[in-house]
């Protein structure tokens, strides 16, 4: 039996960091561009988690229960509701950008030949999305999609009907802060009144088939790692079957490992040099700089070579090995990480490569100046909230999946690490918030792991750890790590 260690905690930290990052992205964008330190952001996560319930477990949603039946939760009625919600939400989101003009393609980077084509394209897109969600239900992935679409529509409404009013009045930051707090309680307790406070869960018992093997998505997988005299051994154990089954067992001798390391270093350094030669001065370049590119290239090389050069061995005895550790994870947890990275990359492309992204970055620096230079700040504001809402919803669904519970207070308690991430990142850019989020995630899990080694402490102290990190950083640098100075 191999026990889990620091490596496991770090992986957990990365997974935690993923949903914190998805929350922090929205919060930091809204903080920067709309000047709203949104205490209600956690509630967007919570609502997102509940919306996915509509798809995943419609029988557990008040009112919708009447449409669902026991044998088949997703009846025709439920599918119709889901279709309408998805299609309506996506069209509504487009409308938010600029009303009818947006529907006619006003927000497209290229002008459509005629408005009719744009309208048709939007309608088609909405119908396709709606069909996907309705047909794919009760898959949690469809839930993810619906939650993202609905919150992308709902998030901006808060700005339009609440915060923009305060901004127009020139309200003080303190007033806006209190208003967001008020909104947080309106949202949280409306949901509680509607759904009642009882704990709900997603129903995920999905399996995927890879090369003839079926994998259970949500059940734990163990990755054991041994260091022995002859080299290293990696074993992948699946706990879904009983008894636990070994899915993969392979070893590397020391010379092979040395080769892998040398090649990795070479590729990594090469990528580093390549990136350094044509680096820009924009803020993305500051974050996704040569070091990150080098590390990523190295990591890819390492994993590829590691898989290719493995040889079959017998499982060593943990007691005889020089070092043995176990990482406990699941396909679901890993896909959360992948999903977050994909979304972050998509956001990066949006910010850096599109006109809208440029406008958003300009508005983030100085909204008034952006307005003077002819940027459509209303559209920027709406986009900001659309992204914030969509990302928050996805984060909420992820939290519901990872922690197996959906309760009205779940958003409020994730708000603290999310805020901590944004403040750690120094508020200046969304990239800072992402870095901050992973820092917070790792601090929570590694801190909890080490505290738990020393004393038996309760897992509820994880959030406190994120906060202690924040307080310590603020003590040293009151403006955060990447503060504006």
């Amino acid at each position: 039996m191999v026990s889990t260690g620091l490596e496991n905690a770090i992986l957990n930290g990365l997974v935690t960091g993923s949903f914190v990052a998805l929350g922090a992205i929205g919060l930091s964008l809204v903080y920067n561009i709309a000047d709203v330190p949104n205490f209600a952001h956690g509630e967007l996560l919570m609502i997102g988690a509940y919306v996915a319930l509509l798809v995943n477990v419609p029988g557990d949603v008040p009112l919708l229960t009447t449409l669902a039946s026991n044998s088949d939760p997703v009846t025709g009625g439920v599918m119709a509701v889901l279709f309408v919600l998805t299609a309506g939400g996506s069209l509504g989101t487009v409308m938010l950008l600029d009303g009818r003009a947006a529907l006619e393609g006003g927000w497209w980077p290229v002008d459509p030949p005629t408005p009719v084509i744009a309208v048709a394209a939007h309608a088609l897109g909405a119908v396709v999305l709606g069909l996907i969600v309705a047909v794919a239900a009760p898959s949690i992935w469809a839930g993810l999609l619906l939650a993202g679409v609905v919150l992308a529509f709902v998030g901006p409404l808060f700005d339009r009907y609440v915060f923009s009013k305060f901004r127009e009045e020139g309200a003080a930051l303190a007033t806006i802060l209190m208003a967001t707090m008020g909104l947080a309680f309106v949202l949280r307790f409306s949901m509680q009144a509607f759904f009642s406070g009882s704990v709900r869960r997603y129903d995920v018992s999905e399996t995927i088939t890879v090369g003839g093997d079926t994998f259970d998505v949500s059940r734990a997988k163990f990755v054991d790692f041994y260091v022995t005299d002859g080299g290293t051994v990696v074993e992948l154990i699946d706990t879904a079957s009983s008894p636990d089954a070994t899915r993969f067992l392979a070893g590397h001798s020391w010379p092979v490992l040395a080769l892998v390391v040398v090649v990795t270093l070479a590729v990594g350094y090469g990528a580093y040099r390549w990136r350094r030669s044509d680096i820009g001065t924009d803020e993305a370049a500051q974050t996704i700089g040569p070091r990150l590119v080098g590390t990523a290239a190295g990591a890819v090389t390492f994993l590829t070579l590691f898989a290719l050069l493995s040889t079959g061995v017998a499982r060593p005895d943990p007691a005889g090995a020089m070092y043995a550790t176990r990482v406990r994870t699941s396909v679901l947890r890993l896909s959360v990480l992948v999903l977050a990275v994909v979304l972050i990359f998509a956001l990066h492309v949006l910010l850096q490569e599109t006109k809208l992204g440029t406008a958003m970055r300009a508005a983030s620096d100085n909204l008034d100046l952006a307005k003077v230079t002819g940027i459509d700040t209303d559209q920027v504001m709406m986009t900001t909230w659309i992204i914030a809402g969509g990302f928050a919803a996805i984060a909420g669904v992820i939290i519901g999946l990872l922690f197996h519970q959906i309760v009205p207070s779940m958003g409020f308690y994730r708000l603290l690490p999310i805020f901590a991430a944004v403040i750690l990142g120094g508020l200046a850019s969304v990239y800072g918030a992402i870095v901050g989020a992973f820092a917070v995630g790792i601090a929570m899990e590694v801190g909890f792991y080490s505290l738990n080694l020393a004393w038996r402490v309760s897992g509820t102290h994880r959030v406190s750890l994120a906060f202690v990190l924040l307080l310590v950083v603020l003590l040293v640098k009151p403006d955060g790590i990447v503060g504006r100075g």
Binding site: G182, F185, F189, L471
Partner: protein, 582 residues
């Protein structure tokens, strides 16, 4: 069933919350510190106090906690006096207050220099950490379960009458608290200037009534206090205390000679009536510009609310209990639409007073109907019972030994707590007023307005903000100690970050940087809570979601107030001349 007990209970918790909110008002209202973690100090005060008075944990079943010093019991055992237990409680409250203040200091030192939004989130985080620690650490204060089994101050003495010496002393204390506050309030009354032999009949009558209700000497000391205040700012405190002490001596003397019922009747009966009379006078004066016609419209509005719930009472509940629900909801819909129409077109219906005053009058009517009429109406075919309910509601400071007044009078623990809490609230209010009307308070306001100016004028914002945090936190800690008495058990659920939100709501509703407004805010908050509970109870189904719906509504109200009337109902009280009198 009369509502007097309910009123006393709600008024007690409202007074505790007022004290709790006074602490936030010093931090946020006067100094501009966004303390989103105010509830942490309330928690620390409550648990510290409770752990100091609780018996050792070993003596309790299924309980584990630190300390357990059993201060009241030890003091009582040491001196052989039951009353010494009360002193133990005072010590525990003082320590709880001090520890909360100290936590305020330790939190403020690192956090206070952060910009306001960071400060808010940092303090919110601290309150969450404190709450979670209490929630998870079993050894500290019985973990996620309730901390119970600690005694409440002097509970052994109640219900009066019982053990004679202690009875007399406790009753004297209660009478002293109630009477001093009443005399102090009366001494602020401009009507007194006209005297009993006044030219206008109204002031003659009202003065005479006040004089009778306060047994003559209360009136005299109020008069004396008022004169003292008017002559070159002499201190009125002596006269007030003397009046209160006289009443206390009279009361405890009577009790000592075993005239318990007469003592209660003489000293608390008229005082109850005095409270209503005084409240009536200041309400009428506050709404002088409201015309009789508007009073009548407000009455209609208030009774409409009652009528909307009528079907719920009349329709016999079926097995599902939903028979009355539909008509109630329909009527409520009509009522809400009608009120909205009325308020939106107020210029057409009213005689020119503002909407806020009108709503205030309607609120007064709602209270009057709910408190004085509803119980009697419920009992109606039985005239005697209806009259009894009304009498019990009017004489709210008096409790009965049996079912009615003819069984003799008693004095129960909840009214004692009310006097205790009211006394602490008065002290807290005076302390807060003294602080903020002084040059110290002036500096706090300057820091709130513009820290750089304060610095350019030689004030050290850091030192003042820290002091403000300590003072505000200590007051919250005292309120926490009182709430530990009030509940009799403590769980972490009573200290959710949600309560900080309620505090902000209370401070903003009444008027930021207005200590009286804070008390009004707390009263309105609990009035609303009680009203919503009543409404839920009147619905045929009852409602489990009443709490959620209420908080959601309050959130919406909060946003609306911040947008439409950020200065609150009474606004900031300006201290133009810097004195204690406006």
């Amino acid at each position: 069933m009369a509502s007097a007990g309910l009123l006393v209970s709600v008024a007690t918790i409202a007074a505790i919350w007022a004290l709790f909110a006074l602490g936030l008002n010093i931090k946020f209202g006067y100094t501009g510190l966004l303390d989103f973690g105010h509830v942490a100090f309330f928690l620390v005060g409550a648990y510290t106090t409770a752990l100091l008075v609780a018996p050792p944990a070993e003596t309790q079943q299924f309980q584990a906690y630190l300390l357990g010093l059993a201060l009241p019991d030890r003091l009582a055992a040491l001196t052989g006096l039951q009353l010494a237990g009360g002193v133990g409680w005072f010590i525990a409250l003082a320590v709880g207050t001090a520890v909360a203040g100290l936590l305020g200091l330790l939190v403020a030192l690192p956090a206070i220099r952060l910009r306001e939004d960071y400060l808010a989130i940092a303090l919110l985080g601290i309150s969450v950490i404190v709450k979670r620690t209490v929630q998870t650490e079993t050894w500290l204060a019985n973990g996620p379960d309730a901390l119970r089994g600690y005694p409440r101050p002097l509970q052994g003495v109640f219900p009066l009458p019982g053990y004679a010496v202690a009875d007399a002393a406790v009753f004297g204390l209660v009478v002293f608290a109630f009477w001093s506050i009443a005399i102090a309030l009366l001494s602020r009354e401009p009507l007194l200037d006209d005297g009993i032999r006044s030219e206008t009949r109204w002031s003659t009558v009202s003065n005479a009534v006040f004089a009778i209700l306060t047994l003559g000497f209360g009136y005299a000391s109020a008069l004396f206090a008022r004169r003292r205040r008017q002559d070159n700012g002499g201190t009125p405190l002596l006269a007030i205390v003397a009046g209160g002490a006289l009443a206390a001596a009279l009361g405890s003397g009577l009790v000592a000679f075993a005239y318990f019922s007469p003592a209660v009747l003489l000293l608390l009966g008229p005082l109850s009536v005095f409270v209503w009379g005084y409240a009536g006078v200041i309400t009428c004066r506050h709404f002088t510009q409201v015309t009789a016609r508007e009073w009548a419209i407000a009455l209609a509005l208030a009774s409409g609310l009652l009528i909307a719930f009528l079907p719920g009472r009349l329709v016999d509940d079926g097995p599902l209990g939903t028979d009355g629900l539909v008509p109630v909801l329909v009527l409520l819909g009509v009522y809400v639409a009608g009120s909205a129409y009325l308020l939106r077109n107020w210029s057409r219906f009213g005689d020119g007073t503002n909407r806020l005053s009108f709503l205030g009058v309607a609120g007064v009517w709602v209270f009057v109907i709910r408190y004085f009429l509803l119980d009697s109406l419920d009992a109606l075919p039985d005239i005697e019972q209806a009259g009894g309910a009304l009498l019990e509601n009017v004489l709210f400071l008096v409790s009965y030994r049996g079912a009615s007044i003819s069984d003799g009078l008693a004095f129960d623990y909840s009214r004692f707590l009310f006097a205790l809490v009211l006394g602490f609230l008065t002290m807290g209010y005076l302390l807060a007023e003294l602080s903020v009307t002084s040059p110290f308070g002036r500096v706090l306001k300057a820091i709130r307005e513009d820290e750089n100016v304060a610095m350019a004028l030689g004030k050290n914002p850091f030192a003042y903000k820290v002091q403000s945090m300590v003072l505000g936190s200590a007051i919250a800690g005292l309120a926490g100690g009182l709430v530990a008495i009030y509940y009799g058990t403590l769980t972490f659920r009573n200290f959710d970050p949600l309560f900080t939100f309620f505090m902000f709501l209370i401070v903003v509703i009444g008027g930021t940087a207005n200590n009286r407004g804070v008390i009004l805010g707390a009263a309105l908050y609990w009035g609303f809570v009680q009203l919503s509970n009543d409404a839920a109870a009147a619905l045929p189904t009852g409602s489990a979601a009443v709490f959620s719906v209420r908080v959601a509504l309050l959130g919406a109200v909060f946003i609306a107030i911040l947008y439409y009337r950020p200065e609150g109902i009474w606004g900031e009280r300006s201290i133009v001349q810097g004195g204690t009198e406006e």
